[in-house]
Amino acid sequence: MKIVVFVNHVPDTETKVKIGADGVSIEPTGVNYMLSPYDEFAVEEALKTKQKFGGEVAAVSLGGDANKETLRKALAMGCDKAVLLKDASVRDSFGVAKGLADFAKEYGADIIFAGKQSIDYDSAQVGGLVGELLGIPSVSVVVKLDIADGVATAEREIEGGHVIVHVKLPAVIIAQKGLNEPRYPSLKGIMDAKRKPIEEKIPAPVEPRVITTAMYLPPAKSAGKIVGTDAAAAVELVRLLHEEAKVI
């Protein structure tokens, strides 16, 4: 089976966001980057799929040279091959999806894994965009997956429950937390990853469909009042919620 997994290189969750000098992105100084957490579930599921059916897992990332660090992590976890679609410019979701879809098509992917969103721009679009660009089904927010006889049975999260969805492969499976427990790279994996080559390709240029015109911080929330220090304060709290905030 030819398995593709998309990985993105994003500021880690500890990052305190500062707006960059251009006013449309964040200031990268002092920011640590990581493999986007949802993509980690995607990598794990790709590796489990290979364990079951054999084949090859190709991790692919679109971005600048810095993304190689995340590709190395994917290799260290056990991916067979890493491909950087090299474009250091900031692309919108469509631009990223187009590059990834072109790669998946050329590679002949039997199944594609992606995270439900990358935790920087949180757009949650790429998996669905790629599915439609390739004319294959996509299933988003997947928390459970079974594959048999070329059919994927995926459990996806909806408000107030889960639905069980059937799709024929090839398909895009978009991972949500809970799908699996991502493995830690072994020491051997880490050492091997350093020696594996990262293939570089230049994705075709794409006109942006969405343009970011500004980025700003949310209005600072000032600390409110401490109503009290024991259970007796509940009376005053309820009064405030009812009369001042009018939320209960």
Partner: protein, 324 residues
Amino acid sequence: MKILAFAEQRSSQFKKTAFEVVKAAKTIGDQLNAEVIALVVGDKVQSIAPQLGGYGAAKVITVENEKLEKYSTTAYSKVIAETAKKEGAEILLLPASAMGKDAAPRVAIKLEAGLVSDCTALTVENGTIKAARPVFAGKGFAELIVATKIKMFTLRPNVFSAGKSDGSSAPVESFSVDISDVDMGSYVKDVKHTGGRKDVAEADIIVAGGRGLKSAENFAMIEELADLLDGAIGASRAVVDAGWRSIDEQVGQTGKTVAPSLYIAVGISGAVQHLAGMSSSKYIVAINKDKEAPIFSVADYGIVGDAFEVVPALTAEIKKLMGK
């Protein structure tokens, strides 16, 4: 110009977001001199359609087919795109719900449209729609414009106010879209419902618990308070990772980003990832023993005290207020 507003329904009942999306379409439509057409997709939805007129729809299109009773990514995205083409709609609004977020990217490709996800505000400036949306789970906000002829936006539930219906009903037109086996490339085999409680992403009140509750069993008092307020339960990452609560309740950067009217955080210290996910709530109450806990820095009201004493007292007091 025409705006197509996707009104989500399940089991022939509109979701609250259906009204929010139609009303938001009406608000920008008035500024753009555009007409709002609502779209309802499902099996038996004819009878519920007219009420969307009360929120600003000039017309409602229904696409009914037994194959559409349950949501199918492939079939629904085809129906939405075909309807937009037939109407010549240049703006499409969908909810940023599980359904809307799933369908929108596929519709965007079919229509060669730029898509902005999870918007929290739409404004019109000199005829251009500007969308605002949280990035980095709410640690920042971005303002975006769409460069393509057809423009798509998904709207975060609970943020755009639907207001009250003005009571008018809209004319309903049915439209038929061919649904082949290929269009049913993804189909729902089964639905599993989890409890009767509201989903954390949709609720107007959330009572959330963290590690300070010490055990899964102690969430009973959180459940009691949430049920009393007809709210949802939220959880910090720590308690989800510990297996005390399910993942769908997790609030924060690797969980859900929420903006209810009231968020009550019990025994949650307030890691930066958690704060990102909930600090745009309208009112925040923090109950924590540690007066230095970062959660107090975003709370409107705080009680520095033992959750095991404060929460039952709070529940009792609210019961009194409600006359229960």
